[in-house]
Symmetry: C2
Subunit: 132 residues, 2 copies
């Protein structure tokens, strides 16, 4: 895994295709699906048809769980990869009162904010239970 | 279709699930897939399993065509919907020399720029051929 992905997030659980990781940004409930395929794969279209099907199932499962747990106003789902090209899919719970609403979380000028350790560990534990 | 989607883009073609539309923003080759389902559907997870499968196929088909036609450095794919909640999926060809690289196209402070009419009509024609 690209170290920039690894160093900016925490593992929650392994799913059939993807490693599921919490982004270390306390501004938003933000989870990444990182397919355990070659790091040279940068686009969803590079996955096999079977891998794409599993990815869509994992996006849906994660979306459903995040809606139940966080009750967001909207989910934002994105596969960008301009900075870290290894394929990773963001699923972010958005709220009308959050830092960037109604804009995207991918703003040039919004610094990330790490979780306090205790809150982070508690959230990872909750999410591990939720996504098991 | 939500009028804000309709008024900011031009129809290219109808695919099995989605209407395929060119976003009227000359800064980036930017195409939207708008599933022809109820406008009250706001999340990918709200689609049926069969619709999700078709959507993934359409994302892949559009990605492949845009890579062939535009030769971008990266594709950006996103389903956000904070402003227009009706489900729509953005597929955007990104270049290291474009206006927002390496940041997302969804910046709070970047105005859109309409296509000149002749260029727009030519591009829609090209894309219609490419995506038929």
């Amino acid at each position: 895994m690209d170290p920039r992905l690894e160093n900016s997030s925490f593992k929650i659980i392994d799913w059939p295709l993807s490693e599921v990781r919490l982004k270390d940004n306390a501004h938003f409930p933000w989870i990444m699906l990182i397919p355990r395929v070659s790091a040279s794969i940068t686009e969803i279209a590079d996955l096999s048809s079977e891998e794409q099907k599993i990815l869509m199932d994992e996006i849906t499962q994660l979306s459903t769980a995040m809606r139940a747990h966080f009750s967001p106003d909207k989910l934002n789902i994105g596969a960008l990869g301009n900075i870290v090209s290894q394929l990773h899919i963001h699923v972010i719970a958005r709220f009308q009162h959050d830092l960037c609403w109604p804009h995207s979380v991918w703003q040039a000028n919004i610094p990330e904010q790490s979780y306090p350790i205790e809150k982070r560990d508690q959230l990872i534990h909750q999410l591990h239970t939720l996504l098991s």
